[in-house]
């Protein structure tokens, strides 16, 4: 099963490679990995998407916690959570497809961030499923290049007091 882990880690040199090395060394899988500093510059927030059964996910979380630099690990996919990913997609847009691409952008609320006589570069934001849908629909038109950020995620706050 797909799990999204939110990891707070000391902003120390080598901390990221410790985490990445843990996954490769123990044969765990990383689907996407996203890191940036938090409000506290001494801590970084890392969102990691991985797959595995309960047994493996439990091991992954415990092994992460064992690293001296890891401050906190939360499996956000255990409950309600918000996830977002951004992608830049450079798509072929000539003659009759130019309008088609714009229509798609409209439907998916994408933004055109660069235009050339033969291409549009569009920005998409949303959960992984949305990105997947956009990419699938643009594929027949012709994707020239794609850059994705990987997922970032947060636990949803309780809606009642």
């Amino acid at each position: 099963m797909r799990h999204t882990l939110s990891v707070l880690v000391e902003n120390n040199p080598g901390a990221l490679s410790r985490i990445a090395g843990l996954f490769s060394g123990r044969g765990f899988n990383i689907e996407s990995l996203c890191v940036a500093p938090t409000l506290d510059p001494s801590l970084s927030h890392l969102t990691l998407v991985t797959t595995g059964d309960d047994f493996i996910i439990e091991q992954i979380i415990k092994q992460l916690n064992r690293l001296i630099d890891v401050y906190k690990v939360v499996d956000v996919s255990e409950g309600e959570f918000v996830e977002r990913e951004m992608a830049l997609i450079k798509v072929k847009a000539e003659d009759e497809t130019r309008a088609e691409v714009l229509r798609m952008c409209d439907i998916f609320r994408c933004k055109v961030v660069d235009v050339s006589p033969k291409t549009y570069t569009i920005e998409v934001t949303g959960p992984e499923s949305k990105l997947k849908a956009v990419i699938e629909l643009l594929k027949p038109i012709g994707i020239k290049e794609i850059a994705r950020t990987g997922t970032i995620a947060m636990v949803r706050e309780k809606k009642t007091a």
Binding site: R18, L22, R66
Partner: protein, 566 residues
């Protein structure tokens, strides 16, 4: 606050951490620290002949004494030579701090002479490691390194020291206390879990205590023994657990697993409750996982949460220090449990069964008058040392025969590479143990294969006047691999036969040590006696039956009940 150079900080920290001896080998990138150590003169330095030897010696020192072992080496090849020793210590949870010299910070990343990314290389096999880029961080890093190495589940920590940082000047503000917000080993076990564990124990009719190295590390042997005696449970030990419970105790089943006793493996297979203490269900213990202890509920006590649920499903996980957990468990059993006599009666059928297994296939070997049996050598060694020596082993058949036929009664008397299985570990580890206990008898049991992996350390032992005794079981084979080839590869002895083996007696003499050799069974006792009585470093070489095997044996991937017997 005193101003100091980085190199002075290192020496000062070593003194404050109570380090009395370090093992190392100098070089250009660490020469400054060496110079400071030399001028200071309070810390004893043991000059080894290979950096791997330094790490194993520090490891042996740590395992024998319970203190942190310390190594000091130079950059590049000096640093990479420590990797095997670090990985060995990591697998067996040995507290160690390794200092490596590094090229000056300005040259890092430039492929400078003797530069290597040792922090990168050792990341997966250290508990933690540091590259010091600024002398201002050094006091904190030094304090943290020792704290991390010895606390929680112990392990090796590496500090990489660039040459310029060694000479930078800074304030020496050595922290009194450690504040690591991301590192909080759980020491005290959860009371609820202890109570739940007790309930399972109370219901059990066929319990077994399965004991690993954690009991030795946390010095929980007395608590373990108390619990075992209270509930009358049989005790099986892993290789690392030997000595954690007295091998001569009537409740001891000896070692379990691949080369464990028949009784230990059968007891494990038929138990209804495993009480695992400081053990991690290694594949050498469980055999085929699906067939492992099918009827058992499992209580697992370990300080490292990752050890729990890694290989088997656990019913009651107890995270915490083995000693404290066992203390609490003993308290509850004493307060709420049945009296000892009732336990005894309740487990009588279980013990009848176990005794039947013990009688059916006790540990044994075919005696022989014409050729020396290695098991016989170990038995005699046990007799002549009264079981009181600190024994180190190499890895392979010599290690397993020692585990089977030398009865370890006290913790920290068997030093052996369990997790990584490092050939060449035993002799340098013996040097370390002898440095920790100059007056104790320290014996390295070796094979002719593994002793040659770090034989150069004989010079170190001679220089330090260490009276280590080396027993070499010489079969001119890489015996354990040969045994596998014999059993599973139709006797195709691919690259396991040594055509050239040195004359170990002459070799001992070449180093200025003494050497004795036995080639017939009737010479074994005399040779051992002579060797043990002779002062100083001694090699005792035994020309053993060439194709002797280690039995029982569970073939890799088989269930532990599918043992090949003698």
């Amino acid at each position: 606050m005193a101003k100091m150079t980085g190199k002075e900080m290192v020496v000062e920290a070593l003194k404050r951490e109570g380090v009395e001896v370090i093992f190392g080998f100098p070089g250009g990138a660490i020469i400054d620290v060496y110079d400071t150590l030399h001028k200071d003169g309070t810390i004893k330095h043991v000059l080894v002949r290979h950096e791997q030897g330094a790490t194993h010696a520090a490891d042996g020192y740590a395992r024998a004494s319970g203190k942190v072992g310390v190594c000091l080496v130079t950059s590049g090849p000096g640093a990479t030579n420590t990797v095997t020793g670090i990985a060995t210590a990591y697998m067996d949870s040995v507290p160690m701090v390794v200092f490596t010299g590094q090229v000056p910070t300005g040259l890092i990343g430039n492929d400078a002479f003797q530069e290597v990314d040792i922090v990168g290389i050792t990341r997966p096999c250290t508990k933690h490691n540091y590259l010091v880029k600024d002398v201002r961080d050094l006091p904190r890093i030094l304090k943290e390194a020792f704290y991390i190495a010895r606390s929680g589940r112990p392990g090796p920590v590496l500090i990489d020291l660039p040459k310029d940082v060694q000479n930078q000047v800074g304030e020496f503000d050595y922290p009194e206390k450690i504040k690591l917000r991301s590192y909080h080993p759980v020491i005290k076990p959860h009371t609820k879990q202890i109570e739940r564990a007790y309930k399972l124990i109370e219901q059990s009719k066929r319990p077994i205590l399965y004991v690993g190295g954690g009991v030795v590390i946390s010095e929980a042997h007395n608590e373990l023994r108390e619990l075992a005696e209270l509930i009358n449970a049989p005790v099986a030990m892993t290789l690392m657990g030997l000595g954690g419970f007295p091998g001569t105790h009537p409740q001891s089943l000896g070692m379990l697993g691949m080369h464990g006793t028949y009784a230990a493996n059968m007891t494990m297979a038929n138990t209804d409750l495993i009480i695992a203490v400081g053990a991690r269900f290694d594949d050498r213990v469980t055999g085929k996982i699906d067939a492992f202890a099918p009827m058992a509920k499992i209580i697992h006590i370990d300080i490292d949460p990752t050890s729990i649920q890694k290989n088997v499903k656990v019913d009651i996980p107890i995270v915490g220090d083995c000693k404290i957990a066992l203390q609490k468990l003993v308290e509850v059993v004493k307060k709420e449990g049945r009296p000892k006599e009732v336990w005894k009666e309740r487990l009588e059928p279980w013990w009848d069964q176990i005794k039947a297994w013990q009688e059916r296939h006790p540990l044994s070997y075919k005696k022989d008058d014409s050729v020396i049996k290695p098991q016989f050598v170990i038995e005699k060694l046990y007799e002549l040392t009264n079981g009181k020596a600190i024994i180190t082993t190499e890895v392979g058949q010599n290690q397993m025969w020692t585990a089977q036929f030398y009865k370890f009664d006290k913790p920290r008397t068997l030093l052996t590479s369990g997790g990584l299985g490092t050939m060449g570990y035993g002799f340098p580890a013996a040097i370390g143990a002898q440095m920790a206990f100059p007056d104790k008898l320290v014996v390295d049991v070796a094979g002719d294969g593994s002793i040659q992996m770090n034989i150069q350390e004989m010079a170190t032992a001679m220089e330090q006047k260490l009276p280590v005794k080396i027993v070499i079981l010489n079969n001119q084979f890489l015996g354990m691999v040969r045994q596998w080839q014999e059993l599973f590869y139709e006797r195709r002895y691919a690259a396991t036969e040594f055509e050239v083996v040195p004359d170990f007696v002459k070799l001992a003499e070449a180093y200025g040590a003494k050497g004795f050799r036995a080639t017939r069974p009737d010479e074994v006792e005399d040779t051992l006696r002579k060797g043990l009585e002779t002062e100083g470093l001694v090699i005792m070489e035994f020309a053993i039956a060439r194709e002797e095997g280690v039995f029982p044996m569970v073939p890799a991937g088989k269930a532990t009940t599918e043992m090949l017997l003698v």
